[in-house]
Point group: C2
Chain length 344, copies 2
């Protein structure tokens, strides 16, 4: 049981615990990163991976959107692939992750280590300690869902259809189960260490949930998600589960032990709340709306706000912010969100 | 009203009209193309675009999977982008479609022509006449859904997130509506001409339905799909509507005037049938199953067959066949499909 943080009564944590706040707290996925000029200035000197691995820089980048916009939560500047090199996997960012030797055999899975928490990403927990000292708002730790991490390890890189991964789940079920078990244990240790270093909430990114039919999902994803989320319960911090493109999995997802469901832009939040039985929902402005004119943007933000009424709502995008986003439009969205009385 | 074709009583057309046949007819999306050695042999001599534009070659490629596998339907070897050059758009295939000058302004939309049917793709209707003379099975004509065609024209190429297109729909609603109107009219003329040349059914590919939230969908996609499908009704041939990644749009899609709904691999066909109120369903084996071992493949094919029972079912994949598919596995899938008694 973690000691309640100094952010315990913050707008973000109240909503994430299920409180129907009068104003929706807001943060944006990928808010720390490439749409910000102050990030791009750092990027001229350091690579993505160097920034992630240098606690002072990762702390600075994490807090850039908090300073510029007054976001209600910070999210730790990192990548879902960050814990994987400690397993013995060679990953490059060019700019997406590329696995030098994709995992395709049982022998390769057997050779993967599950390191102790302290070995996984010490630079990351060091960054979290710096951020939580400096940040005026709660920090969200995060990790990838085990099946989403496995998708990259087996495919070897991002892909439109992850054909090799989908074939692997069928051709090598024993190796696939063992791989997901190892990734689940790694994720538990990694997220434990983030919370112990000061994260006030955690988000599981299931970016590739949409690849799978229900049969695959029930065999490979559900047991690992239930184990991961249950193991994190002892910390008593909000657990946010974000699935992309998972409208076909709602009956399955509603039983997950999570305080908050993050959802993509495709479905209105009132329906997300009802179909998932969610205590709190997070989302779900289409990031493309931030590329529109101010009037269209305002009307889309208000539509999301109205759909979020009737329960706890953490405002967010439905997917990561696009790099071409003008920060002035982020500011406009925040003004609309903060002017909106959710109890009206 | 087209004269009933000599294939009127074929297994495919009976199921497509809603008959609960004892055996499911089968064809596979992208069955004519790059997984076949006899196609790759032609590909060494001609480019994709040369093959599409040469009726004799397009006919030969269309019939390759019919000859090799005995598929129950042929699908015209072409691409959803084929009708667009006649509008005055410069497209290259490298190998995916690349638009030299993406359509981003009202002036560019105004400049697009809507050619007469005979001008759109005469090589295509010539190929259809050859195919329908030679083919032992019915031929399916096809086109892209107007909003999916617009996605490529505006984005300029395939893309993971089509950010520029999603921004265009918000920033330029008048230009977007006009573009979709022109693409709808073009699609009606193009599909009319395919049916008049001999196609016994048509499929609308809505490959990028999954990009959009419901608000965008109702404004831009629904009116164009209703107009397109309604205009085709007079031919009295089955209209197949295939949407990829559209589980969030099922309430909207159920009102479309289509005889058959094609669906991707993500959701079981019994649920697709119920939620869409579909007379006939088409699908939906995960194409990755064709990369698995014979036992796993057989069990997945049988799962799809069982989910398809209780009404008309055209067996297909849930998306295009992967290029790395071994033709022996296609043959195995067909054996399982044909050995299965749907009335058992």
């Amino acid at each position: 049981m973690t000691t309640p943080s100094r952010h315990h009564d913050s707008l973000f944590l109240r909503a994430a615990r299920g409180e129907d706040t009068a104003t929706a707290p807001v943060w944006f996925m990928r808010q720390a990163g490439r749409h910000l000029p102050e990030y791009l200035a750092l990027k001229e000197r350091w690579s993505f991976w160097e920034m992630v691995r240098t606690p002072e820089i990762a702390c600075d980048v994490t807090l850039q959107p908090v300073r510029r916009y007054g976001m209600d939560a910070a999210i730790f500047f990192s990548d879902i692939m960050t814990p994987l090199p400690a397993m013995g996997v060679d990953i490059e960012f060019s700019p997406g992750p590329v696995i030098q030797t994709p995992i395709r055999t049982r022998a390769q899975v057997d050779a993967l280590r599950v390191p102790d928490a302290a070995e996984i990403a010490p630079f990351g927990t060091d960054a979290i300690r710096l951020i939580t000292q400096e940040s005026p708002v709660p920090l969200i730790g995060f990790g990838g869902a085990p099946l989403t991490l496995a998708a990259y390890l087996v495919q070897g890189s991002g892909s439109k259809d992850f054909a090799a991964f989908r074939a692997f789940l069928r051709a090598e079920p024993n190796a696939a189960h063992l791989l997901i078990d190892k990734l689940t244990e790694l994720s538990i240790r990694y997220l434990d260490s983030q919370i112990e270093a000061g994260a006030s909430a955690v988000q599981i990114f299931d970016s590739w949930a949409g690849l799978h039919d229900r049969w695959i999902w029930e065999r490979y994803a559900m047991p690992s998600l239930e184990r991961l989320l249950s193991a994190l319960a002892r910390h008593n911090v909000p657990r946010i589960y974000f699935a992309l493109d998972a409208a076909h999995l709602m009956e399955q997802l509603r039983v997950l032990p999570a305080e908050v469901y993050g959802w993509d832009w495709r479905m209105p939040l009132n329906e997300v709340r009802n179909r998932l039985g969610a205590r709190a929902v997070q989302g779900n402005l289409d990031p493309a709306a931030l590329l529109a004119d101010p009037q269209a943007l305002r009307s889309e933000v208000e539509r999301v706000l109205r759909a979020g009424q009737g329960g706890a709502h953490v405002f967010n995008l439905g997917h990561g912010i696009f790099r071409e986003t003008d920060p002035a439009n982020v500011q406009r969205a925040l003004e609309t969100i903060r002017a909106f009385d959710r109890h009206s």
